[in-house]
């Protein structure tokens, strides 16, 4: 890690590619510095959500989460690179630069908040705002060896967040320090009349609770690499030595969560992305003599990336008459079944625990050889909590034989961020995390 020096920000970014846009100031004037995923609108920096179709968009307003960080004395130093609109597991689906893992720049940071995890791992005393739809905070936190929390759906206002899936998107925190999660989640959480889904939340006043028991779904132990399984089992032993009771449980609904998630997420995304037609924001220089259908089609065909097109097609198909009940309605039912499963288990346990990702950060050449479905399947451990809207958090828990970080993910009941924040702080006292060697 290195201290954040604005005069060297460009050099650091040249090596790691974490920022899409950076401050032009020469020194940090705020009481702390932070970065934010590039799907959160910011007044003074371009906001593209990783998509070329939004190139040139300079919002007239700050997202509520950014506004609150600024009001608390924070200085926004950069907008972080990400998969286009959040569509990815490795941040390799960016329309701009792909962030590189600070432990090995031949490997991915994870996605889709990859730039945020990278910034949190590289800079000392730095916190980054991430956004999770299907695992986009915990996955990169795991791959980059930092702490990452995605709170309950609705805990943080989504005002100013460029939508991927409205019923799934959650803004959270990534940092190398566990104590930062409590500090900065406390700043960005709360009701906001500009996002009605934030207005039903109970007050956010987390205290401390010791983790008494965790449930480990047997289904979450399937398909793991040897390194991940070994590090996870060792972490379970450590938790036991800390006085936490471990119980392996059945959670049969987990296997349905992945297809249900991709149906819901792409259905919502395909409607959300209908607004990008070469008018109002981003790319707007087109041939106005074209008929409107052709005009809209020309922008969308040219500027949407490969994965964005794939998800738009998938989501449009699953919403079509004749298929809607089979896919969309069934996916909503699966979401309810997954929530009920979590509630059943969490009635007798403080949290549900599993590895965050089934493997360590892959190399970019391996990612290039993955099929779309292979990449979707990689999310099977992070998706269930996201589809359920339950708060979840990844903490570093080991390192593979390749030297890459491994994370484990705790899931708590709706609105119970308290247990996650407590666990993170206790875990940080017993687990010595490695910091990447940063040279520029």
């Amino acid at each position: 890690m290195i201290g954040l020096d604005l005069s060297k920000l460009k050099s650091v970014n040249d090596k790691y590619g974490m920022f899409h846009a950076m401050t032009e100031k020469e020194s940090v004037e705020g009481s702390f510095h932070f970065s934010a995923k590039d799907n959160l609108t910011s007044k003074d920096m371009e906001t593209c959500s990783g998509s070329r179709i939004l190139e040139g968009y300079r919002p007239a307003f700050d997202a509520t989460a950014i506004a609150k960080m600024r009001a608390a004395g924070g200085e926004l130093v950069g907008k972080t690179n990400m998969d286009e609109f959040g569509f990815g597991t490795f941040s390799a689906n960016s329309g701009f630069e792909v962030p590189r893992n600070p432990f090995d720049t031949e490997r991915a940071c994870g996605g889709s908040s990859g730039g945020s995890a990278c910034a949190a791992a590289v800079f000392e005393d730095h916190v980054s705002l991430g956004v999770s739809t299907g695992g986009s905070i915990c996955c990169p936190a795991s791959f980059c060896g930092v702490y990452g929390i995605a709170p309950t759906y609705g805990r943080v206002s989504r005002y100013g967040l460029i939508d991927y899936g409205n019923s799934l998107d959650k803004i959270g925190i990534l940092s190398s320090k566990a104590t930062d999660l409590r500090k900065y989640l406390g700043i960005i959480a709360g009701k906001d009349e500009k996002d009605p889904t934030s207005c039903v939340q109970p007050d956010f006043n987390p205290g401390y609770r010791k983790l008494s028991s965790v449930a480990v779904p047997k289904e979450g132990m399937e398909g793991l690499s040897k390194d991940v399984e070994s590090a996870f089992r060792k972490s379970l032993e450590t938790l036991e030595s800390m006085g936490t009771e471990i119980e392996f449980v059945e959670m049969p609904s987990l296997k349905y969560a992945m297809p249900a998630y991709y149906v819901l997420a792409t259905s919502e995304a395909s409607t959300n992305l209908a607004r990008y037609v070469g008018m109002r924001y981003g790319q707007q220089e087109g041939d106005l003599s074209l008929k409107f259908d052709d005009y809209f089609t020309s922008f969308r065909s040219e500027y949407f990336g490969d994965e964005a097109k794939r998800r738009i097609l998938l989501g449009t198909f699953t919403r079509m008459v004749g298929f809607r009940d089979r896919y969309y309605a069934k996916a909503l039912q699966v979401r309810k079944v997954v929530i009920d499963d979590y509630k059943r288990i969490l009635a007798t346990h403080d949290a549900v625990l599993a590895p965050t990702m089934p493997f360590t950060a892959p190399r970019f050449d391996d990612i290039a050889n993955m099929s779309a479905l292979d990449a979707y399947k990689a999310d099977y451990l992070t998706i269930p909590a996201n589809i359920a809207g339950t708060p979840h958090m990844s903490v570093p828990c080991g390192y593979g034989s390749d030297g890459m970080p491994i994370g484990m993910q705790f899931v708590a009941d709706h609105w119970d961020e308290e247990i996650l924040l407590s666990v993170a702080e206790d875990w940080e006292k017993v687990f010595e995390s490695k910091k990447p060697e940063v040279t520029i």
Binding site: Y256, D294, I339
Partner: protein, 90 residues
């Protein structure tokens, strides 16, 4: 998943596909949707909603106010005499 269906979906979504893209997305969607058949055996339930938490309608007082100056929204838009420019309708 046949090519005609992919073409129809792409047309609906306002995306023009090249021949290569058409075949690639057809193949990808077929593989993905085959995997999604898993949903057919998933348990069913009632009382499901579209959000993972209970959401209530929150309304503010019906008082006029302006959070953002419209001029600041228009400044980066392609406009003509204060109106957003767009393609012809016919």
């Amino acid at each position: 998943m046949d090519r005609e269906t992919v073409e129809r979906v792409a047309r609906t979504a306002h995306i023009k596909l090249t021949e290569d893209e058409l075949e690639r997305y057809r193949s990808d969607l077929e593989e993905i949707l085959t995997y999604f058949e898993l949903l057919d055996e998933a348990p069913e339930c009632d009382n499901y909603g579209v959000n993972p938490i209970e959401v209530a309608d929150i309304l503010r007082d019906d008082e006029p106010r302006m959070d953002i100056d419209p001029a600041s929204l228009l400044k980066d838009m392609n406009t003509y005499e204060g109106y957003v420019r767009g393609p012809r309708l016919s």
